[in-house]
């Protein structure tokens, strides 16, 4: 396998007397989708922030030289006091052409001239994903990127993330609660509860006793195979697939 994009060894993060992360090790390789799952308060977002250098952690983080990251945070509220269009917002980070292309790739070109602060939650989620891919990152870090996206759009967006991975050849680190959708697309699942409970191939992890203990009956849900007779485009239009 190629060298990892980013490697974390024995990361430990304390908040006062509370140990949020306890000796977590993780590596993400090019073209790999790593999905981080775990109950609320298990340290998923903290792990992401530690990898990004937003919180201090004990341990070692090695980034491949010149690593370019595209980040979609869990919470991002554009301030109403800042007048800026979606298009200008993207061009700030990646230039106008790359920004326009990314908006088109996520199928939200029609939002270009809208004010960033006037977007709905689902629209903002898509714009933020477009912004993250506009700079052609080596590593996409997505912290529950689909908050506010309706259920029918979710599956389409996860497929889109997998397609973008193929196009850019980037690694993807994803935090999500949508177990059943996520596990279908992930190459590797890491189950976190302050420490790494279990990790590995998606379909092995859902059978792991540590996973079943954490998620219980929801584990069954994750195992449930989904067979649809149609799919949806990002805008929600059904696409019928004849089998």
């Amino acid at each position: 396998m190629t060298d990892p994009l980013i490697t974390a060894k024995q990361l430990t993060v304390d908040a006062g007397s509370l140990r949020i992360l306890d000796g977590v090790s993780l590596a993400i390789h090019p073209r790999e989708i790593v999905t981080l799952i775990g109950p609320n308060g298990s340290g998923k977002t903290t792990l992401l922030k530690a990898l990004l250098g937003l919180v201090c952690a004990k341990g070692e983080i090695v980034r491949r030289a010149g690593l370019k990251i595209g980040y979609v945070p869990q919470q991002f509220t554009p301030d109403f006091s800042l007048p800026i269009t979606v298009r200008r917002f993207l061009s700030l980070f990646a230039g106008r052409e790359a920004g326009d292309a990314a908006l088109a790739r996520v199928a939200v070109s029609d939002l270009s001239e809208r004010q960033l602060s006037a977007l709905s939650g689902g629209e903002l989620a898509r714009v933020l994903l477009a912004r993250a891919i506009a700079g052609k990152p080596d590593l996409l870090v997505l912290d529950e990127p689909l908050a506010g996206v309706d259920i029918s759009g979710e599956a389409a967006l996860y497929r889109l993330i997998a397609e973008i991975r193929d196009e850019l050849g980037c690694g993807v680190l994803l935090v999500s609660h949508d177990l059943h959708v996520v596990i279908g697309q992930a190459d590797k699942v890491v189950c976190l509860n302050h420490h790494v409970c279990c990790e590995g191939d998606a379909h092995d992890v859902v059978r792991d006793p540590a996973f079943l203990e954490l998620f219980g009956a929801r584990g069954e849900l994750a195992l449930y195979p989904h067979h649809h007779d149609h799919t949806h485009t990002i805008s929600g239009e059904p696409v019928h697939v004849h089998r």
Binding site: Y71, F76, S81, L92
Partner: protein, 269 residues
């Protein structure tokens, strides 16, 4: 020469300072950092007092302590106490201690109100050059740093996480705020200087479609508030600094009314 007339010195000093406050104030507004400016101004009073106490220039003391305060306070993060509260505690300690020190310096007792509410009519030619130089310097720096500053304001944690926004830009931004606050102490005083940072941008907001448009309009409205306020002060024989802030407030009220009327009109059409 206009420089010989105290009123013209006041108009140019206050006008340039308020114009420089407009664009930087936009970033203060976008990043919701008004409380930092407030506390930096409060610490500035302590700086002025200490400057007088140890016998160096009051303005130098103010600028030095304001810059240190801005850099320290912006890094305030404590999980138990919100950053704004922490910064407020430190700022008010500075204000209180500064006032105590100033009150104990017998010779400057008469200037206490001047430090709190400004004394722009007392600007000397040297003061005017200093205020004008700092204002133009801050404006130039704002233009030069525009893109990284805007990225940080628009992207917040995103820009930081992607390594696109160095702590150098954050430091530069805080130094610019501290410089305006320190030199603004002479113009509108420690209690009112933040008004010049937040009111013109707020008045510009309803009419702006781009960040640059908002910053430019904020600079213009700030520069307008100075002569209007000084005119009122002259006509009514009222304190100059507070009148400039009142003029800025009136411009804000007018902006709110006009944008509301415009909205009603658009709906009717």
């Amino acid at each position: 020469m206009f420089i010989d007339d105290f009123l013209w010195r006041a108009v140019f000093g206050a006008g340039l300072l308020a114009a420089a406050c407009g664009p930087i104030g936009c970033f203060v507004l976008w990043r919701r950092l008004a409380y930092v400016g407030e506390s930096v101004a409060h610490m500035g009073l302590l700086g002025a007092a200490l400057g007088l106490l140890i016998g160096v220039n009051a303005l130098l003391g103010t600028a030095a302590l304001a810059i240190v305060a801005a850099l320290v306070m912006a890094r305030a993060s404590d999980r138990m106490i919100p950053a704004g509260t922490y910064v407020g505690i430190v700022g008010h300690m500075g204000l209180a201690l500064g006032f105590v020190v100033l009150a104990m310096l017998e010779t400057v007792r008469a200037d206490l109100l001047g430090y709190l509410f400004g004394d722009v009519l007392a600007l000397t030619a040297g003061d005017l050059y200093a205020v004008a130089g700092v204002s133009l310097g801050v404006l130039a720096a704002t233009v030069l740093l525009w893109r990284p500053l805007l990225k940080a304001a628009a992207g917040g944690p995103i820009a930081a996480a992607e390594g696109q926004y160095g702590s150098l830009v954050q430091t530069a931004f805080l130094v610019l705020v501290a410089l305006l606050v320190a030199f603004g102490l002479k113009v509108v005083g420690a209690l009112l200087i933040v008004a010049l940072l937040i009111i013109p941008p707020a008045a510009a907001r309803p009419f702006a479609k781009t960040p640059e448009g908002m910053a430019g309009l904020a600079a213009l409205l700030g520069a307008l508030a100075a002569p209007v306020g000084l005119g009122i002060a002259y006509a009514a024989d009222a304190p100059a600094g507070p009148c400039i802030v009142l003029a800025a407030g009136a411009i804000f009220a007018l902006s709110a009314i006009v944008s509301r009327l415009r909205g009603e009109l658009m709906k009717a059409v």
